[in-house]
Amino acid sequence: MKISMFHLMPYRDLPDDFEQRYHSVWVDPPWNELGNAEKVGQYYNWTLDELIYAAKSGIDGICVNEHHQNAYGFMPNPNLMGSVLARATNGMDVAVVQMGSTLPTTNPPTRVAEEYGMLDCISGGRLVAGMPLGTAMDATLCAGITPIEQRERYYEAHDLILKAWTAPDIFAWNGKYFQLPMVNVWPRPIQKPTPPVWVPGLGSLSTWEFAAQHNHCYCFLNYYGPVVGRGVMDGFWQFIAQRGIEPNPFRAGFLQLVAVAETDALAEKLYEQHIRYFYSKSLHIPAEFFFPPGHQDYRSLENSIRKGLLKSTFEQLEAIPNYKFKDFVDKQLVIAGSPATVRDMLRDAVKNLRVGNLMVLLHIGSMPHDLTLRNIDLFTREVMPHLSDTWDDKWENKWWPERLRAKRQVSLAAL
């Protein structure tokens, strides 16, 4: 299987009473009260260093993403980070996984085609092209996209980008949202016909259908671990079976928070405060921001109200601020502990979810730089080697850059 380190690039020093004092971590946290540009400069550099350290330590891929107006994770243009990472990892067999540019808010979407083209060229064909729909906070509140149009706009942007990469000739794009008289993208990616495309989702049927229709990798990105994830991924694999599609585990991705220490007890001591910070501050978002009316299409809206999905999600979220380390681990929101504990739990998770592309969040909330490097180090040395053969005997990862599909050989001397 392939394992990538995901980084959100959060604000690491929010005040202790942040969630009592402020309405939301996203959209309206006041920069002038909370933001410190000097500190943020340090965060960006730490983030890049942490991802590059993971790459040197043998991880298969490094992931960044796009979000706006928040202290949860703020790389407003993930391709700025991606371009540093692509350059710094040249010579390493590591994928640059952009999870990625938000399609409906990038105008014109050929911009994504161009920037991803640049990244694939700079990295020598190591790009994974993530194509997110974007959260409601980003797309509708920060970028002003009409909620009921966000998904339709996404589909059009996606079709335009793929055509821009693959069309033999210059073409005119006469779409509903975008009209471009002469599309002729420079540069195009090295990978042919296109870099692998990953579609992040939160379990909606519309996204499964979309991923299946285009043969993209579907990535379930959430912070509630494999126990909650099981319900969604079982649904996904059932959907794949019903459509008669090959159940290749590599057509699915999953994100997991992971914290490793020498012992279980030490993990609690080192990570508890940062995990609590993440769930209570980084995810301090009012429900109204998550689902402005129209963000969900009618079918998904009906489904989530009639099955009580929204209600149960928010009830669960409300309980989390009271969780202790043990609760996070028992419920597997975070897989944390000694290397042995983590590899057993992670192996079970990957098998149960049937996931071939695992993303691990190794920097969590307020974690300082040193501790992050220690987590990366223990994970890549003591956990990853025990998992990396999973699925490889039977399946090929067709959603990974072709030149990186073999098992990665790492010379630790590189560190």
Partner: protein, 265 residues
């Protein structure tokens, strides 16, 4: 209570099938509802005593026709769509009463087709914008805050009724879906700021116009009454005490006769 008949129309090349509530007798009055969908209420009952009231549902908000929103891309389409609705209802130049979002639509119709609207009543309409007094974005407010902003007495029975969901589960889900989708569909024409160019067109309105505003309106603050009146020749303003964004229900006894007399004059 008036006997209300429900008609289903088929418009826009039969792609949209809105329901229209019709009641009363007398000269025709079209009522355009606000962002939360159509509810036949005592204000419409009062109007139906003197007029034939036609209350169409905005596209997509009709139960059973959620895709009715899809064929219309923008406000221009929506105005043309109402031109077709008027034709189908056989209304040459009815009086039009619009509330909140419906007020904006009514003003747009009257500005696009000055001859098609005989009289115009705008109840706390949206459609204009002042940076110093923004209109609240109700699509991202929790319901209890909407209620606080929309009602003069947020603890009164009218306001509380809006916060009360039916007990039976299916009915409760139906209502949540209906409200959310009504906001989604009407939001298509106003997101993220309900200023879509009416200020450039509003001078074309020729019909006698009455503006009714609750003095306590915190969703669309009362300063907007003057903004509208300044742009519509001869417009009258009625500011209503002890009312906010729903003056026609909060002060039914005062507003219903006011509107009736204006329409009848």
């Amino acid at each position: 209570m008036a006997v209300v008949h429900e008609r289903t129309l088929s418009v826009w090349e039969n792609k949209i099938k809105p329901k229209v509530q019709v009641a009363g007798s007398g000269p025709p009055v079209v009522f355009l509802h606000g962002a939360y969908g159509l509810t036949w209420d005592p204000f419409l009952d009062e109007l139906a005593k003197s007029f034939t009231v036609y209350a169409p549902e905005h596209p997509g908000t009709t139960w059973g026709d959620p895709d009715g929103i899809k064929p219309l891309d923008n406000l221009w389409d929506l105005v043309l769509y109402y031109d077709e609705i008027f034709d189908q209802l056989g209304l040459h130049n009815p009086a039009v009463v619009g509330h909140s979002f419906g007020g904006m639509v009514a003003a747009e119709i009257a500005a696009s087709y000055p001859q098609r609207v005989s009289k115009l009543v705008l109840l706390c309409p949206i459609g204009l914008w002042r940076d110093d007094t923004p209109v609240k974005n109700w699509m991202v407010l929790p319901m209890d805050e909407v209620v606080k902003a929309a009602f003069h007495d947020p603890n009164g029975p009218l306001a509380q009724q809006m916060l009360t969901l039916p007990e039976e589960e299916t009915a409760q889900h139906d209502m949540q879906i209906r409200l959310t989708w009504a906001l989604a569909c009407t939001g298509k024409f106003i997101w993220p700021i309900p200023d879509k160019g009416l200020k450039k067109r509003i001078h074309r309105i020729q019909s006698p116009t009455l503006l009714v505003w609750g003095k306590s309106d915190k969703l669309v603050p009362p300063v907007y009454a003057q903004e509208f009146a300044n742009r519509i020749a001869g417009a009258r303003i009625a500011m209503i005490d002890h009312a906010a964004h729903v003056p026609q229900l909060e002060q039914l006894g005062q507003v219903a006769p006011l509107v009736r007399d204006f329409l009848a004059s």
